[in-house]
Point group: C2
Chain length 392, copies 2
């Protein structure tokens, strides 16, 4: 007979979800009200404004899709693409591959530009593809690849897309609020994210934003959007600016309370301060990891502070390490995905998780676990190296 | 400058969301853990078993889609249909129309069988359509039409579908846990529901279940499912019975805590007791409504206990009544949808909301509000009539 579920109290240092602050959990649990209640409509308006701040955009069509990041990705492609369209997809990890899946399921063609996993998207290769495909409608790439921990130059890639008269579609699932992301200044036309990464909200929502140019592209479609649930033409009538909101689907009311609170926290801290905080804790973590004798998949110049793909030392069973961290330390870190499965750990320092306490805890837990598996690592040196960064 | 949001404390007697019990809200707010955490995988297994009980099915493919009921509807159609397929859709309200939208966006053809709004689906008309369309793949209908409050005979309609070798697709968004629903005994092949109706969980998830016959239909598809996010072939690898779960998307962890708790409450009460409770409170509410001199859209024989479409008296501004109920009584009731907009109120008695306290509160609030608008109604008589039912 099942009983009420009381989860273990983990520290979430995987690729997401990140730790959700008690403040956000408290907001989540406030009494449910109707999705057409005037008080809720006001909340929706505030969420839009707070999301515009987080994305650094004035885009009117900025809202959270009522489903996880994968649905946000699908919302972008399904609304912008029609059968027969051509999109240049830059792939340097798992999520570029998911973009390809989405493009093809819309009946469109994905022209793939491949880069090595762990390397940023190469603008030169993209430009070559743009030259070879003057009929392409859009360029799509991942700003922060969660599978490898690499950052691509979203500003340069978006500018390049525009130079060839393409829309710039950006996956910002892991970048939003963790590293610099300036949707308007960089000319991004469609962007989607998730709530469970650097926003440190509960998983289940996907903030999206569309430029006026992207909205025009949606409005002039000849084919209907293949997804009713994700059709922005309909969703705009519910999330739109008019006093009269039309029912489309029942919004996930409580999750939106939580998103509102987590966005408030981002605004209170300030985006620049949040970016600096992620950079600081990454720096301390990285020197600690190096002091443990471990390496990174990604060169320091392109490394994401919030997602660290750390190489597993030879002879170490990576799954056994994760199991021990979870069991003895209540600490979750992630495994490798796709081509990196078995070869790396993915260690997140996202949002609320990105703190000195967690950096030191993770270095200590990882070091002592490796020692217990007969690896020659110096945990004390790692902790000391990290502390030095904080004292600087 | 936005501040933390503290919602008003409403009583939710609209068409959903219904009132969420404090027990479910407490579960919702427990600390987030990873979607691949062994403790979470165990929770997923329990949710599947509890959902099988709620649906009265042994279907292995029974799980909550990570998005609202509209996405559950789309998951059913997008997985079962391929371009060129033909589906007979029975429409007697708004949601049959949404089914048509979904069928068409899959590139399939919807053969519409129309019944008057407020009347159950007519099996004779369906049989006529089945005879005229021997190549139809499936029959789709709404068990409990949330737009009108009518119940159709899901058992008879499903049997008819099978007699003509069609799959039976059932919208059980408002019926699940509110009225009898026996997926296996009735031979339903694909069914979707919502969490925010008679389960009294927070909105945002859509429980679905597929029979073996439906799963076979999904497995033998030649075309890929047009939605990556809703592709059951992929979702099965995450929610499936194997020890090894593959990552598909990040599950809405906290919403699933809440769903687990609400399903536990259904199991503790017992489905038959829950159905009887909904019937009892409806009976008391209905005599009260009649004592107020108001009528129902639906004949008593086909009326849903959990969703009451009450006709607005002549000369009364229905929106003003709703606004007054919300403002003075913190009581939400719903407006009419589609063809019934402006003509009815939709008053829900769903899940946790279905209680004597709420029945008496609603009759009193509605009666006194109508009186204040110069309608000749006797609130005391309404309350007395309802109380009599409870004393019987």
């Amino acid at each position: 007979m099942p009983k009420s579920f009381f989860p273990p109290q983990r520290t979430l240092m995987g690729p997401g979800p990140s730790d959700v602050s008690p403040r956000v959990l408290a907001a989540l649990a406030r009494p449910t009200i109707g999705h057409l209640d005037p008080a809720f409509i006001d909340l929706m308006d505030e969420i839009k404004v707070l999301l515009q701040y987080a994305f650094q955009t004035k885009n009117a069509l900025t809202l959270p899709v009522s489903a996880p990041g994968s649905a946000g990705m699908e919302a972008v492609f399904a609304n912008l693409l029609q059968a027969g369209d051509k999109v240049i997809v830059c792939q340097n990890g798992v999520f570029g591959g998911r973009m390809k899946e989405n493009v093809e399921r819309c009946g469109a063609t994905a022209i793939m530009v491949q880069d090595d996993w762990g390397k940023p998207v190469d603008p030169d290769k993209l430009e070559e593809a743009l030259r070879a495909n003057p009929d392409a409608l859009a360029v799509a790439f991942v700003h922060a690849e969660t599978s490898t921990g690499v950052r691509s130059d979203a500003k340069a890639l978006s500018a390049l897309a525009h130079r060839y008269d393409c829309l710039a579609i950006v996956d910002a699932v892991t970048s939003l609020a963790g590293i610099e992301l300036c949707v308007d200044d960089w000319g991004i036309d469609a962007v989607y994210s998730g709530t469970q990464k650097c926003l440190s909200c509960v998983p289940g929502l996907s903030p999206v934003s569309f430029s006026d140019r992207a909205v025009a592209c949606i409005r002039k479609r000849r084919q209907r959007v293949q997804s009713w649930f994700l059709d922005m033409n309909l969703i705009m009538d519910y999330w739109g600016g008019d006093a009269k909101r039309s029912y489309h689907h029942t919004a996930p009311v409580n999750a939106l309370y939580a998103l509102h609170e987590s966005l408030l926290m981002v605004q209170e801290e300030g985006l620049a301060a949040a970016w600096a905080r992620h950079a600081l804790h990454h720096k301390a973590f990285a020197v600690g990891i190096e002091a443990l004798g471990l390496g990174f998949v990604v060169d320091a110049s392109a490394r994401l502070p919030q997602l660290n793909a750390v190489t597993v030392p030879t002879g170490i069973n990576e799954a056994a390490v994760r199991a021990e961290l979870l069991q003895a330390w209540n600490l979750e870190i992630g495994s490798g995905l796709g081509a990196l499965a078995g070869k790396v750990w993915r260690i997140g320092l996202m949002g609320h998780t990105a703190s000195q306490t967690n950096v030191l805890k993770c270095l200590t837990a990882l070091g002592s676990t490796l020692q217990s598996m007969a690896a020659a690592v110096d945990t004390d040196a790692a902790v000391a190296a990290a502390k030095k960064i904080y004292q600087a």
